[in-house]
């Protein structure tokens, strides 16, 4: 941490001018603080408060401390949902970010004809609302009427059951990848654009080829941006809701009401009227996301330090 040198060495009482500055600063962030407190902090505190109670259909509400959390940690339905999302995370995120990185490097290399068009074309799916994207893919996946199944049959092959228990998670990974590759690519591409070009010149003089430059200069240089996309993707994966909820309409027996932890929390709160347990489930999900994100970030920093 070397950026703290701006602070003066000797600490006197704040001058009137400084005091005015501090006041202005607080005045400027007040609108944010008010909204943040009302919309984020207060609901969080309230949800935390709710999670300490148990409401039973008979007998009403009572204080149970952390019992809801204990229940959630041993709830097979919740754990199955977390397990599914972990598989999703481990398979989908590397593929999506790998593809995004590849596209970002390809467009940045300047060797691509029509790179501006490609950039927009890859980004466009992100502009398609998740609901529309899922309905569109749901149609493509359809077993009887979907073009994928029909093409397989046309050439005499058995159609893959994309909406079956075995494959639907992968079908969902495909939808999410399709939607978010462009978004992640743009973040990485923006980071690539700010790398000083002298580095490339130096590398070229040293005899490095394009691939070598990409691997040894570009990727390390945009490591923070990649880390950002990783964290975003982890959060997104665990919070999966729209895609499975919509696919449940065409594969109702494969996707139950608790396929993902978020769907489970929703079902608990709004179908079974168990707001308290739903709050506990949501909190634990939040903790899981925090822990995974932290571990990933930490290991990223370790790797950085080792270099």
């Amino acid at each position: 941490m070397t950026t703290t040198s701006a602070i003066p060495h000797v600490r006197r009482g704040p001058s009137p001018h400084e005091r005015k500055l501090v006041f202005t600063a607080y005045a400027l962030i007040t609108p944010f603080l008010v909204v943040f407190t009302a919309m984020v902090i207060a609901p969080l505190v309230y949800a935390g408060f709710l999670s300490l109670f148990q409401t039973r259909l008979i007998g009403g509400e009572q204080f149970v401390g952390l019992a809801n959390f204990g229940k959630a940690l041993t709830d097979p339905v919740f754990l199955a949902g977390v397990g599914r999302m972990s598989v999703f995370l481990l398979v989908q995120v590397p593929i999506m970010l790998g593809v995004a990185l590849f596209f970002a490097l390809a467009i940045d290399s300047g060797r691509l004809a029509g790179s501006r068009f490609s950039r927009i074309a890859i980004f466009v799916p992100f502009a398609v609302p998740g609901v529309v994207a899922t309905m569109m893919w749901g149609y493509l996946y359809g077993e009887d009427f979907g073009p994928i199944a029909q093409s397989f049959r046309a050439i005499g092959l058995p159609a893959p059951a994309l909406l079956s228990d075995d494959l639907i998670l992968f079908a969902m990974m495909n939808i999410v990848t399709w939607s978010f590759v462009g978004y992640n690519m743009i973040i990485m591409y923006a980071a690539l654009r700010v790398i000083p070009t002298e580095l490339y010149e130096a590398a070229e003089i040293d005899g490095a080829g394009a691939i070598r430059v990409a691997w040894s200069i570009k990727v390390p240089a945009i490591r923070p941006a990649i880390m950002l996309t990783v964290i975003f993707s982890i959060i997104g994966s665990f919070q999966l809701f729209t895609e499975p909820t919509l696919l449940a309409a065409i594969a109702p027996n494969v996707i139950g009401t608790s396929y993902t932890p978020n769907m489970y929390a929703y079902t608990l709160a709004f179908r079974f009227q168990d707001v308290n347990y739903a709050a506990a489930v949501a909190f634990i999900l939040g903790f899981v996301i925090m822990i995974v994100s932290y571990v990933v970030q930490l290991s990223g920093r370790r790797a950085e330090a080792r270099r």
Binding site: V45, Y46, F49, L50, R56, L57, I58, G59, G60, E61, G142, E143, D144, F145, D165, A249, I250, A251, P252, N253, V254, G256, T257, S258, T267, F270, R271, F272, Q273
Partner: protein
């Protein structure tokens, strides 16, 4: 410091919520004078319902009671509707006065004391207008929680041409006949005679109901019983297990695109469905006009046929209403006024619950081109008379329906062990009920 303030805030909210749910309507009967005053005082009340064309009946009500203004809103169908009603009740504001409520959800709303007991508002006076089983669905002792609107006694819709191609010229009367027909249809035409779907607890429970089983009961307070593994339900399970094992029925989920296509293109040669099914199918498989026929559901005992019900709705007044007299009258008027109920039956295709409409020539003698000129209504009216009156629902039907999909429903769709699925369903329900503080018998 911060935590204590938050706790106080939350505690106040909880107390307020308790106070709101605690108030109930007076038990004394409403006098004629009170009724006249209420109905002639300019009042606006709101109703949430999704029955198609119900604005017709609302208009008739407003004509009969010019002082009352009804705001009708469709906030969604089924699950979405209940979620919004629950949310509004929980919030304490914004809930309507009258709601559409399916039979299976009546106990769930009785449990939370959300429904106004309509008995003091003269509801018992109209009891004998309704088919006995629909009335028993909305009452508990003397209390009347809703007024039946439409029903879904179950029958059998089938493609006459496909069954004929398989050599079956008469509608199967018993389940044994049905199995023979299923085999013939599968072998001769390649179609399935029907689909047993694992995504909808309602249709499966309709079949259980038709077997004379009454697996659930609720005393209106805190005691329930769950007996899904009893002999009558087991008989249903064994029957379908056999058909599934022999690949004679499809197990595709219902109300999905593939299923609609199956009905339209003949890969599904029939649909065991409710009395609202004929009109629904007509819209789904328009190209097959004239090829379909309706018949009663097959039965285990040909001498003593029992029918089941799937679906249908009521209108109920919420206990939080500020205008209980008007709300009760709205629910009662729409579902008992002769003109309003006949219009429901003949123009909006809701299957009637009033015996007068069931037997009226305008309804019973309607001939349907889609069903080759058959008097479909008459057939279902006869079925309606045989629906068992004992069947009850649990006061947490949302859980029952959701856990069906994860247990027995999964076994059906995977063509697995249905008995094991049924046992898992039973266990899930009992565990949940116990956790929720019910006394399970």
């Amino acid at each position: 410091m911060r935590t204590t303030t938050a706790m106080k805030l939350g505690a106040t909210a909880a107390v307020a919520a308790l106070a709101l749910t605690a108030c109930t309507a007076p038990a004394d009967d409403i006098s004629n004078a009170d009724f006249e005053t209420a109905m002639s005082t300019p009042t606006t009340i709101s109703m949430w319902a999704w029955a198609p064309g119900i604005e017709n009946q609302v208009a008739m009500f407003e004509e009969a009671y010019p002082a009352i203004d009804v705001v009708l809103e469709n906030v969604g169908q089924g699950g979405d509707h209940y979620t919004k009603v629950r949310t509004a009740l929980e919030a304490g504001t914004g809930a309507p006065d009258v709601i559409q409520l399916e039979y299976q959800y009546v106990p769930s709303f009785v449990l939370t004391e959300s429904l106004l007991d309509l008995a003091p508002y003269g509801a018992n006076d109209v009891a004998d207008q309704f088919t006995p089983w629909t009335w028993s669905q909305v009452t508990n002792g003397d209390a009347v929680y809703a007024i039946p609107q439409d029903a879904g006694p179950m029958g059998n819709l089938y493609r006459e041409d496909i069954l004929a191609a398989a050599g079956i010229t008469e509608a199967p009367v018993t389940w044994d006949d049905y199995a023979v027909a299923a085999e013939a249809v599968r072998n001769q035409t390649g179609s399935y005679i029907t689909a047993l779907s694992g995504n909808d607890a309602g249709s499966f429970l309709g079949l259980v109901w038709a077997a004379g089983a009454a697996p659930f009961s609720y005393d209106g307070v805190e005691t329930i019983s769950v007996d899904l593994t009893g002999p009558a339900t087991q008989e249903v399970i064994d029957y379908w297990q056999d058909l599934i094992d022999r690949d004679l029925v499809s197990t595709d989920p219902s109300f999905t695109d593939g299923w609609y296509q199956g009905l339209a293109n003949g890969t599904l040669a029939g649909w065991l469905t409710a009395a609202w099914g004929p009109a629904f199918l007509q819209g789904t498989a328009a190209d097959t006009t004239g090829l379909w026929r309706a018949a009663p559901l097959p039965t285990f005992d040909a001498d003593n046929p029992i029918a089941g019900n799937w679906g249908g709705s009521t209108l109920a007044a919420l206990s939080a209403t500020e205008h209980p007299i008007v709300a009760a009258e709205l629910a009662k008027f729409i579902n008992t006024d002769p003109e309003a109920t006949l219009k429901f039956a003949t123009e909006q295709f809701l299957f009637p619950t009033r015996t007068e409409v069931l037997t009226s020539p305008e309804f019973a003698e309607q001939e349907s081109e889609f069903y080759g000129g058959q008097r479909v209504n008459e057939i279902f009216a006869e079925i309606s008379a045989t629906v068992d009156t004992e069947f009850q629902w649990l006061p947490f039907q949302d859980f029952v329906a959701a856990s069906f999909v994860d247990t027995l429903g999964k076994a059906i769709s995977e063509k697995g062990d249905l008995s094991a699925g049924l046992a898992a369903w039973q266990d899930a329900i009992v565990t949940y009920a116990t956790e929720q503080g019910f006394t399970v018998q």
